[in-house]
Every structure is written in structure tokens, then in C-alpha cells.
């Protein structure tokens, strides 16, 4: 469980976070989205206890990160942006060092070491100097170190940057697998990544939470689009308006070969697809398209960054 409570952070005159609150229930994977400079990294640095907020606090795994950072850090794995590592060390020495710092001992230590090496696919670079590794391997060594102590909570700052498409798929798969038992928050600019790995997204813009909800809620639309050929658009509008749940009906564009686009705006989150189809069938109209006007996460993101409008979810 991660709970950010009214986080504020100012760097001198610049306000990085301006009252950020959100929560990640145990066992959920949440994506933290936002344009560059929105405050994603700052928020994460506060969550892991690297920075102190100017105001507010965060509760992770039941401990207050401002008052009790060590208790939080015991239960947390953190992969900072760009996976900073000790370039002079061998990959295996780095993992051993992290195991020492985490005070892993005996059988458990050996088991965890071999588990993360296998899970992150770094068995063949263990005896190489970290500074000579490719970006993808560095990222995976960093990830291995972050999950070494099998933490309850994972904070991953852009975990897939610098990976090739195959590695991206592998890392996403790993995140999804770990997400079954762990609470994970990850930041990214890559929207399909959120769709592939996260159940929920928190969109941060200019240091504020602009949207927070499940992917379904965020992309869900209350507009049903019907494209049919009708003799009398006015009469069709009246018929559609009588469907329970439909608030307004609008004609969209000009008819194309007799086909007219109707936009049915609903007054709730219901589904009016079936009654609409029923009317079309009864009237014997020719139907070209019937769909709900759901937006992609990308559209939602672009709309938010462009207009600054709030999405209630």
C-alpha cells in the first residue's frame, strides 16, 4: 500500500509538486504518467525517502516515510531513473554488496541472488564490469538489485528506457508477474507501457494530479457513435433520444452516400449499444458502424496536457 498525502515540494522558486495525493492499494500496479518536468521523479524520490517533501507525507507499507524512512526502505525496492550503478564493480560484486547492505544471510541470501539473476536474465554478465554493460543490461542489473530482498513495494522510475523491443517485453512481463504479489508504482512516458503493465494510472501535470483512475475509467467515454443511412435524420434523432440513458443526440458532419453520423451522449456510464441496434433493426436502416467513442490513453493524455481539463473518475 502506497499513500501519498498532499505532497508539496519546492526547489527554491520552482514548485515541483503542488499538493499531490494518490494511493496504490496493495498488489496493484500503477503507472505515474506525465510530461517531462511534471514532477514524476520528484514524487518518486519523496516516496522512497531520498527527498523530504516541503509539506505532506507518504505512507508506504504502513510506515511514514518522513518520520520513519528506514522502516519504509526495508520494505521497498527502488530503481532510480537511468539505473545509476557503480561502474567500477563487477555485476556480481554489486549484487553481493546490495545483499550485504540488505543484511540477507544464509540460504535465503543465496536463493534470492540466484532468483533475481534468473528473473532479470543477467546470468551471462555477472562477471563483467558494470561500466562496460549495455544500457539494457545496466537497467536489468539495477532492477535485480531493487528486487533482491523481495520487497513488498517497488518504485520504478522509467524502468524500460534504453531497452530494445524484446527486452521491453521481457521487463514488462517481469513487472506484471511481480505485480501479482507486490505493490508497484512505475513512471513512464510510454503510454502503451501503462496499458501493458498497469491496472491504474495517475496523470501528473505541472505538479498536480490531473487524472487518477483505472485505465477503463480514464479512457471510458459517454458517447455512442452510430453511422446509419436514414431517410429522415430529424425523426431518427427523436427515436434515439427516447432510448433510456441517452441525454442528447447530435448529428455529426454531412451525410456520406446517405450515411449519417449520430453522436448519442449518455447521462451515465451505461451502455446503450443494444437498444440503439434494436431501433436500427426495427426501422430497417442500413447500419455502417456502431461503437462507443472510447479514447485511447494517448488521446486522454494529449487532451489533458493541451487543455489542462480535469477528468473525473
Amino acid at each position: 500500500m502506497i499513500e501519498a498525502r498532499n505532497l508539496h515540494k519546492a526547489y527554491g522558486e520552482t514548485i515541483a509538486l503542488d499538493g499531490v495525493s494518490f494511493s496504490v492499494p496493495a498488489g496493484e500496479v500503477v503507472g505515474l504518467l506525465g510530461p517531462n518536468g511534471a514532477g514524476k521523479t520528484t514524487a518518486m524520490k519523496i516516496l522512497v525517502g531520498f527527498l523530504l517533501p516541503s509539506q505532506g507525507t507518504a505512507i508506504l507499507a504502513g510506515h511514514d516515510v518522513v518520520r520513519d524512512p528506514l522502516e519504509v526502505q526495508r520494505r521497498l525496492g527502488y530503481l532510480p531513473e537511468n539505473a545509476p550503478l557503480y561502474n567500477d564493480m563487477l555485476a556480481q560484486d554489486f549484487l553481493l554488496f546490495m545483499a550485504d547492505m540488505r543484511e540477507l544471510r544464509g540460504d535465503h541470501r543465496n536463493r534470492r541472488l540466484s532468483t533475481v539473476v534468473e528473473e532479470c536474465g543477467i546470468g551471462n554478465v555477472l562477471t563483467r564490469t558494470i561500466g562496460h554493460l549495455s544500457k539494457g543490461y545496466r537497467q536489468r542489473v539495477g532492477l535485480a538489485a531493487a528486487i533482491l530482498h523481495d520487497p513488498e513495494i517497488l518504485v520504478l522510475d522509467e524502468p524500460t528506457t534504453g531497452l530494445d523491443p524484446n527486452q521491453i517485453v521481457e521487463v514488462r512481463e517481469l513487472i506484471r508477474r511481480m505485480g501479482e504479489t507486490k505493490t508497484i508504482i512505475l513512471s513512464t512516458h510510454i503510454l502503451p507501457e501503462v496499458e501493458a503493465t498497469c491496472q491504474r494510472a495517475v496523470i501528473l501535470i505541472d505538479g498536480r494530479v490531473r487524472a487518477d483512475g483505472s485505465l477503463e475509467e480514464l479512457t471510458h467515454s459517454r458517447v455512442q457513435v452510430v453511422t446509419v443511412a436514414v431517410p429522415d435524420p430529424r425523426q431518427a434523432c427523436d427515436l434515439f433520444r427516447e432510448i433510456p440513458g441517452v441525454k442528447t443526440v447530435a448529428l455529426d458532419g454531412v451525410p456520406d452516400h446517405g450515411f449519417q453520423v449520430f453522436r448519442l451522449e449518455m447521462d451515465g456510464d451505461g451502455d446503450v449499444g443494444e437498444p440503439t441496434a434494436e431501433i436500427v433493426r426495427q426501422q430497417g436502416w442500413r447500419l455502417r458502424e456502431l461503437r462507443r467513442d472510447d479514447r485511447s490513453l494517448e488521446q486522454v493524455f494529449r487532451e489533458l496536457t493541451a487543455t489542462g481539463a480535469e477528468v473525473a473518475a
Binding site: F50, E71, P80, N82, P84, Y86, D93, F97, M101
Partner: protein, 238 residues
């Protein structure tokens, strides 16, 4: 304790993974030999004064090279974030780094052990001042290492960390030096000599181990190690 050992071990390895350790040891041993032989034969006395007279200034010049990277490098390459988000107290990290740098300094001093052994075989060597000299060198070096680590914890620029540490160590050396303290009245001079690192070193290196000198070096070391911890904690407010 485990974590202090882990940090110290990693730090020592980092010294030897880079040229710093070798350059330091070479420079330290080379300079020590040079200073020793510079006066040994002309004075014709079986002691190590030539070496120990040079130690305070040698430390001022070489210790900052050992400490400049301690935190500045972590900051620059971002590993500070990894260290500071481990369940480790800043004091453990500072202690581990201090012990590593101190151990390397100790290795440097060990390399000069051939000198007293040679001298002892040539004539009658009074071991008291020699042991005092080595003890004093470790204490003096420890204090400078603490100062250097503190400076390194305040910047991500290694060159800056080197120069600042050198300036501050030099200041501690300088206030007690005769050339400076001698300019003042007797009472002021006594205070300045009390503050200076080199003046106290000279009395230990004569073989006189005074408790006040020990307390002086240990509190100087403790103060700057605590300041390093404070500097790290303050970073969270950045």
C-alpha cells in the same frame, strides 16, 4: 556493523579499481623516502625526524586526494540515490567510508616501515618517538580524512572537493605553525598552537603521547564525521 563493513569493503575496492590508490601510495611512500634521506645522512642521528617532520604537510597535500571522491562521485553518478534509499543510517555510510580511507592511509604508512627497520639495523633507534610518530600520523591523517569527507559530502564536484579540503586542512596546519603562531603574543600563540594540527603532531612525534593531544585529534575527527552525517541528512531537504 555489517553495513559499515560492506560500505568500507566496497569503498576500498573502488580505491584499488581506480588509479587513485596506487598513485596515492606511490606518492606517499616516494615523498616519505625523499624527506627521510634528505636529512638522515647529514644529521647523522639514528631517528626518523626527517620523515615525521614532513608528515603533517604531506597529509595536507595527499589526504584530499583520497577523500575528494567519497561523496562527490556518488552524487555525480547518481549512486547516492541507491545508497541513501537503503535501510542504512547515514552514520553507517560515513563510518564505512571513513574506515576505508583510513585503512588506505594506514597502508601508506606501512610502506614506510622499512625505514625504521633499516635505521634500527644501522644504529641505536629509540622506538618511542617512532611509534609516537606513526600513532600521530594516523590520528592527524584521520582528522584530515574526516574534514575531506565532510567537504566531499557538500558537492558533486570532485575538483572542488579536493581544493576545499586542501585549503581547510592547510588552515588547520597553518594556525599552529611557528611561522604563523609566532607572530602573535604568547597567550594567543599558545591558543593557536593548541588549535593547529601540526604543532600537536610534533609533540606526539617526540614520543610524548599526551591525553589532550589524543582528545584533540579524536574530537576533530568526530566533529567532521558528524558534520558529514549532517551534510548527508541536509541533502534530503534539497
Amino acid at each position: 556493523m555489517n553495513r559499515i563493513r560492506a560500505v568500507a569493503g566496497r569503498e576500498l575496492r573502488a580505491y584499488f579499481n581506480s588509479p587513485i590508490a596506487y598513485i596515492f601510495l606511490l606518492a606517499f611512500a616516494g615523498a616519505a623516502l625523499l624527506m627521510f634521506f634528505n636529512s638522515f645522512f647529514s644529521r647523522g642521528v639514528a631517528d626518523l625526524r626527517g620523515l615525521f617532520d614532513a608528515v603533517p604537510l604531506l597529509m595536507v597535500l595527499l589526504v584530499p586526494a583520497l577523500t575528494m571522491r567519497l561523496w562527490a562521485e556518488e552524487d555525480k553518478q547518481g549512486t547516492l540515490e541507491i545508497l541513501m534509499t537503503l535501510p542504512a543510517r547515514p552514520a553507517e555510510l560515513v563510518a564505512g567510508k571513513f574506515l576505508a580511507s583510513w585503512a588506505l592511509l594506514g597502508v601508506g604508512l606501512l610502506l614506510t616501515l622499512g625505514l625504521p627497520i633499516t635505521v634500527a639495523s644501522l644504529g641505536h633507534l629509540d622506538w618511542g618517538p617512532v611509534l609516537g610518530g606513526y600513532l600521530g600520523a594516523m590520528l592527524l591523517g584521520g582528522a584530515y580524512l574526516a574534514i575531506g569527507q565532510f567537504i566531499s559530502a557538500t558537492t558533486e564536484n570532485q575538483i572542488l572537493a579536493f581544493i576545499m579540503a586542501l585549503v581547510i586542512c592547510l588552515a588547520f596546519y597553518g594556525v599552529g605553525a611557528e611561522a604563523f603562531a609566532g607572530l602573535f603574543s604568547d597567550t594567543t600563540a599558545a591558543i593557536l598552537r593548541g588549535l593547529g594540527t601540526a604543532s600537536r603532531f610534533r609533540s606526539i612525534a617526540r614520543g610524548v603521547v599526551d591525553l589532550r593531544d589524543l582528545i584533540y585529534y579524536l574530537s576533530l575527527t568526530g566533529f567532521f564525521l558528524a558534520a558529514s552525517v549532517g551534510a548527508l541528512r541536509a541533502r534530503r531537504w534539497a
